[in-house]
């Protein structure tokens, strides 16, 4: 068997950001469901403890994400964000299932990242209002809890898709290696993220790829 050629897909900062978010998400989801679902509330019963777990995990999550974002901006995160937020003709073709050569992130991954980031901001704001509204009634708005719950439902849909593609779907699950080890198989990258793979393997092709971008 030929030795596997790998290319680097995610930096340490990117992986730290992903796993900090993922870990906090699961703790927040678990503790949140205990607070939300009557059957679990009855089973666990220690509402104050679960509330504290939820609250302090939320605080730790927000602090860590903010810290990683600020520290990471100088370490390539700025470029990552730019990659994620920009959509071109290839992305449109990809979304319409008419080919479209993906860069490091395909259009679906970009949308997932954008939704996740927006949900995170909304979770943080509505969570703060739920906490603070208990202390100052001027901040207790009747709809805050609806927003927080609605975000949970929407996030579960995203999460289900994300877990399916990263753990189960045979042709995409190799991507998991990228977010754990940082590197992915070059041949896999060539099939799934051809524009990025070409660039990552042969930086001299920069100009060529740029040309492609402009023509795209």
């Amino acid at each position: 068997m030929a030795p596997e050629r790998t290319i680097r897909r995610f930096s340490r900062t990117e992986r730290a950001l992903h796993w900090a978010h993922a870990t906090a998400f699961f703790v927040l989801l678990g503790s949140g469901l205990v607070l939300y679902l009557p059957r679990l509330s009855e089973l666990v019963a220690r509402r104050n403890l679960i509330k504290d777990v939820h609250l302090y995990t939320g605080l730790a999550w927000a602090t860590l994400i903010a810290l990683l974002l600020v520290l990471g901006l100088g370490h390539g995160l700025r470029e990552t964000i730019r990659e994620l937020e920009r959509f071109d003709a290839d992305d449109l073709r990809w979304l319409l299932r008419r080919g479209g050569r993906a860069g490091r992130f395909n259009a679906g991954q970009k949308l997932n990242a954008i939704a996740t980031a927006a949900f995170a901001v909304l979770f943080a704001i509505s969570g703060f209002l739920l906490w603070y509204g208990e202390r100052d009634t001027r901040f207790r708005l009747a709809n805050t809890i609806l927003l927080h719950d609605g975000l949970m439902y929407a996030s579960l849909v995203l999460l289900a898709g994300h877990l399916y593609l990263s753990l189960i779907h045979p042709s995409t699950r190799h991507a998991l290696r990228g977010i754990t080890h940082g590197t992915v198989d070059a041949e896999w990258a060539g099939r799934h993220h051809p524009r990025w793979a070409a660039l990552a393997e042969d930086p001299t092709r920069d100009s060529l790829v740029c040309e492609e971008f402009r023509n795209g």
Binding site: E85, R86, L122, T137, N143, T144, L147, P203, C210
Partner: protein
């Protein structure tokens, strides 16, 4: 890696991000009406899928009080002529009242059309004979230190009761078995669960949440900053 190429494409992602955040924040104004609209449009089965439907179980202690019909007693004392202790069976033999009412939590969720059965406070208090100086009922929960008070006038409203049945079943443990206060015109925190003592007092006093700043007269839609 060499410097990144000039960014291709347009930052639609940033616009989408801001749009989702703005939409989410504005939902603080429109989420309830939107949910009510959905609720009226969707068929029965699909309604269960809507978020924020149904009960949430709020507790303040480390475990929910457990109801033992053999040993349970409801104590009615304070400013009364004849302090009483009632067993569960004795309570069930008092005149039965039924009602269907909505339940509103101060945090924003509601449950509509809850069927309650129980005893009106008028009938309960007739057993003990409140003294003239008694003006409020202090409900003490078995979930220590939860308590709350209603004025006598509030407790004597036609839709207030001490309930022992909910939706055709004996009150379940998470809902305050065996008895809880039902006061639909006020937010849920006035609807004390696991009631084990009713003390007649001269003046209303702050309950558990009121000590933390909640309104004592917790009228739905007319209190707590609403």
């Amino acid at each position: 890696m060499s410097p990144a190429p000039a960014p291709a494409g347009r930052p639609y992602g940033r616009a989408a991000f801001l749009l989702v955040v703005a939409g989410g924040l504005s939902s603080l104004a429109w989420a309830s009406p939107a949910l009510r609209l959905l609720d009226s449009l969707l068929p029965g089965g699909a309604k269960a899928l809507l978020p924020s439907q149904g009960w949430r179980i709020y507790t303040i202690g480390d475990s929910m009080p457990r109801f033992d019909p053999g040993t349970w007693r409801l104590r009615i004392d304070g400013l009364v002529r004849r302090p009483r202790e009632l067993g569960y069976d004795e309570l069930l033999r008092l005149p039965r009242a039924e009602q269907t009412s909505d339940f509103h939590c101060v945090t924003g969720w509601s449950v509509g059309g809850v069927r309650w059965a129980g005893v009106r406070f008028r009938d309960l208090l007739a057993l003990t004979g409140p003294l003239p100086q008694a003006h409020a009922l202090r409900f003490v929960s078995a979930e220590n230190p939860y308590e709350d008070t209603l004025t006598l006038a509030q407790a004597l409203r036609a839709d207030a009761m001490l309930a022992y049945e909910m939706d055709g079943q004996p009150l379940s443990r998470p809902h305050g078995a065996p008895v809880r206060v039902v006061m639909p015109a006020m937010y849920g925190y006035k609807n004390v669960k696991w009631v084990e003592r009713i003390e007649l007092v001269a003046h209303p006093r702050d309950g558990f949440w009121e000590k933390l700043g909640y309104d004592r007269d917790a009228w739905v839609a007319h209190s707590n900053g609403a």
